[in-house]
Symmetry: C4
Subunit: 123 residues, 4 copies
């Protein structure tokens, strides 16, 4: 049995799904999670907006001894997903310690742009 | 009532508003703040320069359970705002814990460039 | 004798070797390690995937008072290396404290894109 | 008198001065330092390489209540400066607490690329 490593509560304030793509790559964001443990990690994500109520408790499972690079466009709760082209923020709570990084590829123009941050660990 | 999460004092040393934009996107910076609490957060920003006195105590309100992606070009105090094309730095003090990320889109050239960091938490 | 500085255990959740390059630069990732100590640092890297078992205990040596910017494409264990174009994650354990940063140059398009993060320190 | 804020010892493992520039912007790196104190901060920088001895104790002064975005190409010690096109790393020790961010603009291609990280704080 391998031990869980990292933190259980992470924040990413700058979320944004670019609305368009040019060139050969697709604009997207990924929430990249590493689960070092032999056990599955169950994540609960809350999505915060500038002008409406949060979408709470979107569930994501990360298998044991695996990473998962979660496309934010794939997240949904009761048929509600994150709209493109609006600023939002992410709160991630895991039942066991994991490590979380956030990256965005913006391909609005033909030539792409990249950014990446470690999520801010709370606990 | 939801609890406040994060830290109350954050620093961003590398501020810079690109003076020009080409292509379809506008060069800009955003200070992205997440307020997980049910209460409003009141931020006080101080802007430091290389060769002049700081602009102190610019106020920004973040509503409860909301994120706000604040354009730095929108910040002003007594009619004074941040000039474009000069290096500066940001100190942010909030009355309740929040989480702060800083991102810049540089569209000086037709194809854009992106960078992002979590602000450095002090307290 | 100079003292070791930093941490011994670091995580990078978002690894990805871009499969193609255009223009004059080559797409690549670097794990940038600084060893401030007068002694050699021995690193053990584990590579985690989305859908297969990890590659464990890839060894890298960082000489004393030196930095090394390790290309991830150069890492191998028993003839197995990291495939291009698949999401993966990195765990790095050093026998003495070091500091670790991860950077990616994506030259899929003629004009390149850059991202960089400090690795997440665990211990 | 305003108080010093931050840390006194910072590490940046991934330094690299791009050797060429195309388009209208110049490739460069900046070490961005914020000194919140009313007193001057005296920085000592050590530059580490992959294959030669470090350049030690390059001095930089940051005036009180000011930021300074230091171009790495401007750093020199006894006539020795950082060569372009080689991987290196930075250790920064300040006599009073400051906050340090590192950013790179790569304009090797006509369209530029950006990356930025907070330096890793040691003490």
């Amino acid at each position: 049995m391998k031990q869980a490593k990292g933190m259980k509560h992470w924040i990413i304030p700058d979320g944004y799904i670019p609305p368009t793509s040019a060139g050969t790559l697709l604009s997207h964001e990924s929430i990249c999670v590493l689960n070092c443990s032999s056990e599955e990690a169950l994540l609960k994500l809350t999505i915060f907006f500038e002008d409406r109520e949060p979408i709470e408790d979107i569930l994501v499972v990360i298998p044991g001894r695996r990473t998962k690079h979660v496309r934010t466009s794939s997240l949904a709760k009761n048929g509600e997903s994150i709209p493109v082209g609006v600023p939002y923020a992410i709160e991630l709570i895991s039942d066991i310690p994991v490590v979380v990084q956030y990256s965005r590829l913006d391909a609005t123009q033909a030539e792409n742009a990249l950014m990446s941050v470690m999520a801010h660990p709370l606990a």
